[in-house]
Assembly symmetry: C2
Homo-oligomer: 313 residues x 2
Amino acid sequence: MEVPRSSRGAPIMIDTQSAYERIKNYIRKTPVISYKNFYFKLENLQKSGSFKPRGAYNKILKNLNNLNGVICASSGNHAQAVAKVCSDLNIKNVKIIIPENTPQIKVNKIRNYGYEPIFYGNHLNESLNYAKKLSENENLLFVHPYDDLDIIEGQSTIGLEIENYDFEYLFIPIGGGGLASGISLYIKEKKPNVKIYGVVSENAPSFYYSFKSNKIVEIEPKETLADGIKLKYPSNLTFNILKEKLEDVILVSEEEIKEAIKWAYYNLGFILEGAGAISLAVFLFQKVNISKGMFILSGGNINEHVLDDILKL
Amino acid sequence: MEVPRSSRGAPIMIDTQSAYERIKNYIRKTPVISYKNFYFKLENLQKSGSFKPRGAYNKILKNLNNLNGVICASSGNHAQAVAKVCSDLNIKNVKIIIPENTPQIKVNKIRNYGYEPIFYGNHLNESLNYAKKLSENENLLFVHPYDDLDIIEGQSTIGLEIENYDFEYLFIPIGGGGLASGISLYIKEKKPNVKIYGVVSENAPSFYYSFKSNKIVEIEPKETLADGIKLKYPSNLTFNILKEKLEDVILVSEEEIKEAIKWAYYNLGFILEGAGAISLAVFLFQKVNISKGMFILSGGNINEHVLDDILKL
């Protein structure tokens, strides 16, 4: 696969087909629904309610020999995905580091998969650093949410499940950029004429300004409904891939995310989380003038109370 | 509202409009999605994942004055709904009796709403009897899953949300019969020409044989994917309503339920539980020759492993 070079000049290699063979009996092949001239890829219907298991299965299955245990840090979909994957693969020694302020409902979802999370740090960055250190001290496989080629390779399998549809534009939500990197690497190889757009929350716009200024810009995110993509900065790895593969990056406001969640509920019958609905906002508010579009709906894990407040608007 | 008489000759009275005023700020108005000439009412997108909160809100809100506490017995959707409703209404003294063999995942869902369930009995019937006795001893409001006019009245509000659609046939899953009783009472009043069919699992066919023989027939149910409607017999109340309001009752096999769950996932993008998909099976396998149909999809709380096994078929 023709791929961009990393900042150090090494080629970025992924093998989507092999990854798919590796994980396909574990993940769900999620549906693609057509609506007028458009397609929606429903990763909200993936196991654990988001696209994240694709990367986690790929990373862990690649390292299953002599595996001493698994560690990750996340307060949301990535933690649930790693818990789900480890539970399915019957891995006992699993450490899931979560920030101390993680909401009870998210804690319970991890417990439901049979693991007791470890509370550490005020912010995800502190949890991540602690997890990384612990992974070295205790010889545990560190499963990063996005800054890892095996994770990116896993997420790229979505590309394989959409390539046979007829689309010219593709819209992917971006937080850390692992999902967008994986899909873009695959689709730009197979369908080079497709124009790919990253979709970013106005309240967590680091990737937008990084892309526009062609260097990584660190921005403290504000509260956003798209908490699944609320990050301070992309990684070198994902930034270097995406600056080459993306046509452009689109900003979406909180109001637009709310409208997209509400519209998806009433018109499609889907429950989406903020990050899962953000590419739909591009569609609803016609932010790009397109005909044949494919929209990645990345997850559906929204708090019931948050959803109910939005549905009443 | 013109209603049938109970077996003792008393008129069966419900007031759907008043119930709707009572509960409408608490429940979700769920979507109706059109597909070809047909409509699907998505109660799988109701709070807690099934239609059950409508009845529970109605029962509890009607009895909120001097309420000493709430008690119910259920291993599934009804227990989750009562827990959700009590949590929303900030009721502290809540006893949820569940059979001793209730799966961990269902126990956790109750705990997620902040209540510790009480294990009692080998079968739901034993849990129900215990709950009834305890409700009298401790002066707690007993919230029965279906054998209660306030519950039926709450479920009837679905009728109000579908009446303005253009349909001639209506399909409703039947276990205890509370959902079907409520909707039928309302719709037969407002749209008397609509033909209403009850849909029953072959493995829990008590209502089918009761309807056909015009008397309540007790049948021990077998395992069924439609565990939400797995019951030994209907109540006098629901049987008396339904024998008058229904056109006919349709049996659906386990294989057909599986196909309906799979079809809904891939073609509509919905995750449905067995009972929630059973009326879709009528549609898919053309068990009745119809044109304009409305199908009630009653819930979406399916175990992830069960769903994954079905999707692989």
